[in-house]
């Protein structure tokens, strides 16, 4: 039954995420930020320090209005700033400030050490690589799919 192994894979992945995240929260890995705020700065850094707000939103599990307000707060704190898009008047470009990049880096380096401590204690390096490959393949494959069981229809056609 492939429906069985599929949901077992998802449940195992999801529960692992919950358990590790609990550890990170418990250890206050993201202080002085909230984990969701760090997530914004991290993804912004990964996108080269500047991104359209909707692109950033695509990588996060929060709604568009929540992200808009979070950016208000991150901007007030001096970690990001908004710029107008030169090509599309509707878009807002979110830019990581120097201070924001410093904060992200400071938290990130500490956080990465904690990640390594947990992951290394559980998996061999080979297993870590296998997990990364499988999780990436899952993400990519799921992205290619439309919302539901999905007919032939193509997206990025």
């Amino acid at each position: 039954m492939t429906i069985r192994s599929a949901s077992e894979a998802w449940e195992a992945l999801f529960r692992a995420q919950v358990t590790l995240m609990q550890k990170f929260e418990e250890a206050k890995d993201f202080a002085p930020l909230r984990s969701r705020e760090y997530d914004v700065l991290f993804n912004l850094a990964q996108l080269g320090g500047r991104a359209r707000q909707w692109e950033l939103n695509e990588r996060l599990l929060i709604t568009q209005p929540s992200l808009s307000r979070m950016i208000d707060r991150l901007q007030a704190a001096g970690y990001v700033r908004r710029e107008a898009s030169p090509s599309d008047g509707r878009e807002v470009i979110v830019v990581l400030t120097e201070e924001g990049a410093r904060m992200q880096g400071r938290i990130g380096r500490r956080h990465v050490r904690h990640i390594a401590a947990l992951v290394d204690s559980a998996l061999t390096e080979e297993e870590q690589q296998q997990l990364a490959v499988l999780a990436d393949k899952l993400r990519t494959g799921a992205l290619a799919r439309g919302t539901r069981t999905e007919e032939p229809r193509a997206e990025t056609a």
Copy 2:
């Protein structure tokens, strides 16, 4: 560079979780509940339909006061009820009602089909099993660890 493969494994797992969860939210898999409410009913069902509140809390990413209030709401909706613990007067036993079990099952069956559609489109059955094993091993190994890099002892010393 084991720190590298460790964080790559975590990031891949985390991002896969975000992407799939976005799909589930977008498709309203958990309606008429919120995803966190479904998560409570699902975990309660997995624990045999009754659990101490703190045990339930251990499996969720929400704080104790938030869970307490969520149980208020789930109780008002008729999905769970609180019972006194026979062995410890401080504890509250959360019990899944028949109606709660029916709702969890109804949502769960639909949700599992969606999971299978996404996971099957991305991974072979063998890969799904490998992913489940690796994610489980990661969770179990991380649980065995203390909070930080873990010196021999040391609390908040």
